[in-house]
């Protein structure tokens, strides 16, 4: 983990920071593109596959603020957070390919991974279930007197689950150090937000729990970075949870097999103009922090790293079938 926890006063948007953010966002985009648009179509990916295309700013702008003692509990759209926590493209690809060498060693697939050592809660497929669990991690932090914080991520769809309600309420009542990130991408699978809730914003629900909340442009990585710093400072200071709603859009189907015909064209077009990577690049160019050539170079390096990682992952062995019953219990 390279980034130690920042106090919000130290916050400054520097060229260096932007380069780092850009790196992870491009890495996430390219790695997911490689997985979904190439390996999946080539039939090499085992099972389904979800991406966070268009939502890269959210995991990257937030997780970059976490220190080694902090914990993240990501959603299936947050590959950038995995990368920042040190899970490598090699490991991620091995996971997608069902090989040894991925974080679950082939026991689980695609984004359903995590890493206890690097404080990434493995994704729980039951949508909403991560909220009580993340809350429990925050409880343990408080219990142990740590000054660390949990970043917990979920989508608009998760807010309809009972677990979401129970988790937010408990975190609030217990004043736990946790920041909730909602990626409100307007859809849960094919279900548009207006069929999910009558309020306009997920953040409008935070007052129910006495949790302070803010709404940010989910495609503006710097806005997310700043909001995350506020949220983390709040949580670390013992004031309890904080909620950040990131307005964004899923620039893909729900998963690789979903053409998302149910999304009206105008929405897709509107959001394609708001690409978070282009936006950060524009910011950097305007400040003379980088040129198109630099971006090309960054992308080239990343593609090379991915090429190498794909090769590595494809060379990894599958798990030994004889191990299928190992590790159900500590003693087995």
């Amino acid at each position: 983990m390279s980034s130690p926890a920042l106090a919000p006063t130290e916050l400054e948007i520097t060229a260096e920071l932007c380069q780092k953010l850009l790196h992870y966002m491009v890495m996430m985009r390219e790695l997911e593109d490689r997985i979904e648009l190439k390996l999946y179509r080539q039939g090499k990916i085992v099972g389904g596959c979800y991406t966070g295309r268009g939502q890269e700013a959210i995991p990257v702008g937030s997780a970059i603020l976490t220190g080694p003692d902090d914990y993240i509990a990501p959603s299936h759209r947050d590959m950038g957070a995995f990368l920042i926590r040190g899970i490598t493209p090699r490991e991620i690809l091995a996971q997608y390919l069902g090989r040894i060498g991925g974080p679950t060693g082939g026991r689980d697939g695609n984004m359903h991974m995590g890493c206890a050592r690097r404080h990434v809660l493995p994704i729980i497929s039951s949508i909403g279930a991560s909220i009580p669990v993340a809350t429990g991690i925050a409880l343990a932090m408080k219990y142990r007197g740590e000054r660390s914080v949990v970043f917990n991520y979920w989508g608009d769809g998760a807010t309809s689950r009972g677990d979401w309600h129970e988790g937010l309420n408990f975190a609030a009542v217990q004043k736990l150090p946790i920041v909730f990130f909602c990626n409100n991408n307007l859809y849960a699978y094919s279900t548009p937000i207006e069929k999910q809730m009558l309020v306009e914003n997920v953040a409008d629900r935070a007052p129910s729990y006495g949790i302070p909340a803010e709404i940010v442009d989910g495609n503006d990585v710097l806005a997310i970075y700043e909001a995350s710093a506020r949220g983390a400072a709040h949580a670390r200071s013992g004031d309890g949870p904080y909620l950040i709603e990131c307005k964004t859009f899923r620039m893909s189907g729900h998963s690789a097999h979903d053409p998302a015909d149910y999304v009206p064209d105008y929405l897709r077009q509107e959001w394609s103009r708001k690409d978070p990577i282009l936006r950060l690049q524009k910011h950097m160019v305007e400040r003379d922090w980088a040129t198109e050539a630099d971006f090309k170079k960054v992308r080239g390096e990343i593609l090379a790293e991915i090429d190498e990682a794909v090769e590595w992952a494809l060379a990894q062995p599958y798990p030994d079938p004889a191990t299928v019953t190992d590790n159900v219990y500590e003693s087995s």
Binding site: S125, S190, Q196
Partner: protein
């Protein structure tokens, strides 16, 4: 008659029941315009409209709970769980309320909970489970799993017409892997009736769901050496005790096969019945073939090792035959 996949057969059954009875309606996540994650309800929204095909928020407990309420007040809801694994999120509603209404106060709950179950599609631990046992063990519920397209249509129709809550487990692997002639008529397949899929005299394999096909393939492979009878339970609870005892008494050697994990699985239940009520007839141990007691692993070699298959059945059948 038309050649039809399992998924098409279920859809046709739903369609016919909705045409026949205004009180039948569909509710679940993404069941409307999207037609459900496995496209079982595709086209129903266009035909029956938003009143009768309701897209819900991502709320399993309210899907089954509101389904139960609607059933109490005169409707016949068919609710969908996107994956049977997530029925766990509505577990209290199903087991503590819906199941007990008739016993507690005579309440009729004509609710069907449809749920895609089972593995074989590299779905990993959360999208491959066989969830039947907790429901089999809940008095008041019925649990059904069709193994053929014909049964899929006939059983969904019978489940909808039944006045008790039915957990209707559809096998994901079978959705599109089998195709059969399915009559276009209005027929039902009765609940709680098993069927002999293949007659035999040496060994009985009692099973259900996908494993019916595995058993039939094993029986075929063994044809020259062993005469294997294959029984498809179709309804897991209340199950057809007479049929189970009949085949056990007939062949005297029984294999209990399921895709679900071993300990606490359906195989034990059947062993309990047979070893108590057909003890005198048995000429060999009751053999359980099931997945090992682990979550469902994701990676192909692990999932393959996990799932029961033809080889495993053949091997055990040979052993038992020699016994």
């Amino acid at each position: 008659m038309a050649m039809m996949t399992y998924v098409e057969a279920i859809r046709q059954g739903l369609w016919e029941e909705m045409e026949r009875d205004e009180s039948v309606f569909i509710m679940g996540e993404d069941v409307g315009i999207y037609g459900g994650a496995f496209k079982v309800t595709k086209g129903l929204l266009e035909r029956f409209g938003e009143r009768r095909v309701i897209d819900t928020p991502l709320s399993e407990s309210v899907i089954v709970g509101a389904g139960t309420g609607a059933a109490i007040h005169g409707l016949r809801p068919v609710v969908e769980m996107q994956f049977s694994d997530f029925m766990a999120c509505g577990f209290d509603q199903i087991t503590n309320f819906a199941a007990k209404c008739r016993y507690r106060w005579g309440g009729s709950v004509p609710l069907v909970v449809r749920a895609p179950a089972g593995g074989g599609i590299h779905g990993g631990p959360f999208h491959s489970q066989n969830p039947e046992m907790p429901y089999v063990h809940t008095p008041g519920l019925k649990v059904v799993q069709p193994a053929t397209a014909y049964d899929a249509k006939g059983l969904i129709k019978a489940s909808i017409r039944d006045n008790d809550p039915v957990i209707f487990l559809e096998h994901k692997y079978l959705y599109r892997s089998i195709k059969e002639d399915v009559p276009a008529d209005d027929y039902t397949v009765p609940l709680s009736k098993a069927v002999v899929r293949r007659e035999g005299t040496d060994i009985s394999v009692i099973t259900y769901g996908w494993m019916v096909h595995v058993a039939l393939q094993a029986a075929e492979r063994l044809e020259e050496e062993i005469s294997v009878e294959v029984m498809d339970l179709r309804t897991l609870v209340p199950y057809d005790r007479e049929a189970v005892l009949k085949t056990a008494k007939k062949t005297s050697k029984v294999i209990l096969l399921h895709e679900d994990t071993l300990t606490g699985g359906m195989g034990g239940e059947l062993a309990g019945l047979i070893s108590e009520h057909a003890f005198e007839y048995l000429d060999g141990p009751l053999i359980r073939i099931a997945a090992p007691d682990t979550p469902v692993p994701f990676s192909p070699p692990l999932e393959e090792a996990f799932l029961p298959n033809v080889d495993k059945v053949v091997e055990k059948a040979r052993w038992l035959h020699k016994y």
